[in-house]
């Protein structure tokens, strides 16, 4: 038995409001189809009503779609939190060592002015990526698991990045030379973060385009 539009909308409402899927359009659409198919089969096989079948199906899903209060990401569904934790690992594994290598690699050249020029060049790349990301978020038509993840901390990183640049310019100005680089670590780190998040947002655009075709 096929569910009616109202019944499908009800499942969508439950996912949005009872299970915190409001901001994850891509995953919610996929789960909505799965749960709807499961409810349809359950009604057919067990000769029960929609009102009886839905709680049974949701119960099967509960562990995955409820918020995991013990997790770092405790206000999102567990299935989302688990993916975000994996992405965190990927980020840390590629960004932190690279930041450390570039920062410590510059120590032997601490008295060289070109390091400061290099830092400001990296800052320019960071600035372009930061503006590009903020522009992408502005144009964002759907909230997806990836876009929400990328958006989550980007404003903080943009703020930190600007603070570090201003601090460095002030230090250079007050010293009267280009040898002070208090922002070096932050500039390298945030630029790398922007670069990785840009990759994530490119993937997100692919998901958005697919959603646009059918919505």
């Amino acid at each position: 038995m096929k569910l009616t539009t109202d019944q499908i909308n009800h499942i969508d409402y439950v996912l949005r409001n009872d299970y915190s899927f409001e901001h994850f359009d891509d995953l919610r659409i996929e789960l909505l189809d799965h749960i709807t198919s499961d409810v349809e089969l359950s009604i057919e096989k067990n000769s029960i009503t929609f009102e009886e079948a839905l709680p049974n199906v949701l119960h099967k899903w509960n562990d995955e779609i409820a918020c995991d209060r013990s997790s770092f990401y405790n206000n999102v569904p567990k299935i989302v939190g688990n993916l975000w934790k994996k992405l965190d690992w990927k980020y840390n594994i590629c960004v932190l060592p690279l930041t450390a290598i570039l920062t410590f690699g510059s120590i032997p050249f601490i008295k060289e002015v070109w390091i400061t020029y290099a830092m400001y060049s990296i800052a320019c790349i960071g600035l372009v990526l930061g503006i590009y990301l903020l522009n992408l978020f502005r144009k964002n038509q759907f909230n997806t698991v990836l876009s929400k993840y990328a958006k989550n901390k980007i404003k903080f990183y943009v703020g930190l990045f600007l603070f570090a640049i201003i601090l460095n310019i002030y230090a250079n100005y007050s010293d009267g030379d280009l040898l002070s680089r208090p922002a070096l670590f932050v500039v390298i780190h945030t630029t790398l973060v922007f670069a990785v998040r840009t990759i994530i947002m490119r993937k997100n655009i692919k998901i958005e385009n697919q959603l646009l075709k059918v919505i």
């Binding site: 562990d63 993916l83 075709k213």
Partner: protein, 114 residues
């Protein structure tokens, strides 16, 4: 039954890829039902395992997705990419070798032909 599920767990991605190779494109629920049907209910892919596996393979470039509107809702179909097809062949070879080796240990007199 539960112990058997543990044995299947390590081969989940290979099973999904093999199904997609045979069927062309499938959606999540269809995959769970197909596996249940083929194994006559012996193997049950849990929702918590299926979607992370599909999303990981999509991120790795082995799967491509296609969306369609079906019965008043949007359906996401998965299909193998070119590299996904190659990966399926190599994973199936690995799985067949594994089964052959296990068979040799469990029952040395029985010969399996793949």
């Amino acid at each position: 039954m539960k112990k058997q599920q543990q044995l299947y767990k390590g081969s989940l991605n290979t099973i999904i890829m093999k199904l997609l190779e045979q069927q062309g494109k499938m959606y999540g629920y269809e995959i769970t039902q197909k596996v249940k049907e083929i194994t006559q209910g012996e193997m049950n892919i849990t929702e918590g395992a299926l979607y992370p596996a599909l999303h990981k393979m999509e991120a790795d470039g082995f799967l491509d997705v296609e969306m369609d509107r079906v019965d008043g809702r949007i359906r996401k179909y998965y299909k193998l990419t070119e590299s996904g097809v190659k990966e399926t062949v190599s994973r199936m070879e690995e799985l067949e070798n594994f089964i052959r080796n296990m068979q040799t240990i469990v029952n040395p007199n029985l010969k399996l032909d793949f």
